[in-house]
């Protein structure tokens, strides 16, 4: 009995120590990244290349996700609202839901799935093939050269992507609302504008920037610290996506409570 209890405590202890080690390592990596963010040199061409990879090449997946979600949302709200003769709330609810929540969250998750994994795979391969060590021997700081351009590009690009996602999400609701649900085009747009407030847009863009930081940080952290060959790179890729997803959803909750928590 005592042995079973000891084993159980040992397992719990190992888990807690492992979790604390990961948190400590991530905190140290984040601090290092933040201190490098404000110190030259800056590799502008790398930042530009990463903005193209993260932003431009993510446009189709983010745009289509937002468009279809906005359209489906309008359909659902119309059906639900019709039970209370409240079909007219469709434009207002769609714009609030898209701009405050679905645009940034779905955009963030789609980009995380696409970009965090790619970053982790690329940096992980560089780690296990000693390319990151080679950078050091060539007088180049790997953190500065590999991680910082990705973080800057991601933080700058995500708000632009989410802006596009918000517009397309609202447009998706507008198309379904006016072509299928019989809502008037002019009044749809008017209600949309009446419901939307500046704070909605600001919070959406702030969320996007935070999610951008998380996406690049998780992809870089797991790739940069990967080990153990091809299997290690595969694990880093999975861990990057899973941790980015969880942290995006947690950050979204925190920002939402801070911005809208007081009503």
């Amino acid at each position: 009995m005592l042995t079973i209890l000891n084993n159980a405590l040992a397992i719990i202890g190992r888990f807690v120590l492992g979790a604390l080690a990961v948190i400590g390592s991530l905190a140290r990596f984040t601090w290092e990244a933040l201190t490098h963010l404000v110190r030259p040199p800056f590799y502008w061409s790398h930042i530009g290349k990463q903005m193209l990879t993260i932003g431009y090449f993510s446009l189709p997946v983010v745009g289509l996700t937002a468009l279809f979600t906005g359209a489906a949302l309008a359909q659902q709200i119309f059906v639900g609202g019709s039970r209370f003769n409240a079909e007219s709330v469709v434009p207002g609810v769609v714009v609030i839901a898209i701009v405050r929540e679905l645009g940034p969250v779905l955009g963030g998750l789609m980009v995380a799935g696409r970009v965090s994994s790619a970053m982790a795979a690329e940096l992980g391969t560089m780690r296990v093939t000693e390319q990151i060590d080679a950078l050091v021997t060539l007088s180049t700081d790997p953190m500065k050269f590999l991680v910082i351009p990705r973080i800057i590009a991601s933080v700058l690009t995500l708000p632009l992507l989410v802006l596009v996602a918000n517009i397309l999400g609202v447009y998706g609701g507008f198309v379904i609302g006016t072509t299928r649900l019989g809502l008037n085009e002019g009044s749809y747009l008017q209600v949309t504008m009446d419901f939307l407030e500046n704070s909605d847009v600001y919070s959406s863009l702030v969320k996007a920037a935070v999610f951008g930081f998380i996406i690049a940080l998780m992809g870089s952290y797991h790739g940069y610290n990967s080990s153990g060959g091809a299997q290690g790179v595969g694990k880093a890729t999975t861990d990057a996506v899973v941790s980015a997803f969880i942290m995006i959803l947690l950050a979204n909750l925190i920002i939402t409570v801070i911005v809208f928590g007081t009503g």
Binding site: T129, E130, T137, L138
Partner: protein, 257 residues
């Protein structure tokens, strides 16, 4: 008296419970070519990674040109790192860049040289290691193992460093190509007058490129001496290693539970 270029004093490094370096004492004179031999997992690569700053030792002192670099952070190492060049075992070429940009990397990013001049030097270094300018335009993935080693060597010498590390330069190559690489290393090092540390299992390579040989075992230097004396070292571990014998103290220790 020739000055000591690199000094390691009682350097220790562990990964978790695994002790890799257990008090390494080693010094390399200016212009000297030292080869470190030893079995897999004995701490050879970890030792040179501690010198260059890729890994931080747990204790001990490492000096380069008299400067204590033991606990120096990477961000403060720029001046020290500009003295180093390194040829990695697998080449470690950047597969996102063409060959010439790999060779020119240290010149462009480490020495802030303009791209045109750096490209010219890169092409010259490629020629120096027996590769034509056409190769400079290829991707590293298009090269054979031997060509990748040559490109790695060209990259290591491109900035004309004072200290060059060669990590298993002939591993994975056929004997003829291995000898070509050995000759290139000897020629390039002679041209530059560089101090070198080479890690290898290949005794033919060790005899050809070294002035002095040191053997590391269980994280400690257990023997060192002039290359000519390695055959008569009187050390059972060295004897077994250089003759590649399955019987001897090293095997007995491996077989211990």
């Amino acid at each position: 008296m020739t000055k000591q270029k690199i000094i390691m004093q009682d350097v220790k490094k562990s990964f978790g419970n695994k002790v890799v370096l257990n008090g390494v004492n080693l010094s390399v004179k200016d212009g000297e070519s030292l080869v470190i031999i030893g079995g897999s997992g004995t701490g050879k690569s970890v030792a040179i990674k501690c010198i260059i700053g890729i890994l931080m030792p747990d204790s001990g002192i490492i000096k380069v040109d008299g400067t204590d670099v033991t606990k120096m952070k990477l961000t403060d190492r720029k001046d020290i790192l500009s003295k180093f060049g390194m040829l990695f075992q697998g080449g470690a070429l950047f597969d996102s860049l063409p060959v010439w940009k790999n060779v020119a990397f240290g010149l462009i990013h480490g020495k802030n040289m303009n791209v045109v001049d750096a490209k010219e030097i890169a092409m010259e270094k490629l020629r120096r290691v027996g590769l034509s300018p056409d190769v400079g335009l290829l991707s590293p993935s298009e090269l054979s193992g031997g060509m990748q080693k040559r490109v790695g060597l060209a990259r290591a010498i491109a900035t004309e460093p004072e200290i060059i590390f060669f990590d298993e330069p002939t591993t994975g190559l056929d004997p003829i190509m291995a000898d070509v690489i050995n000759d290139l290393i000897v020629e390039c090092v002679k041209d530059l007058g560089a101090t070198t540390i080479t890690i290898t299992h290949d005794m033919a390579s060790a005899r050809k490129i070294s002035d002095r040989i040191a053997m590391i075992h269980k994280g400690k230097i257990i023997w060192e001496g002039a290359t000519a004396t390695v055959e008569n070292s009187g050390n059972a571990y060295v004897e077994q290693f250089i003759h590649g014998s399955a019987d001897g103290p090293i095997e007995m220790e491996i077989l211990k539970p």
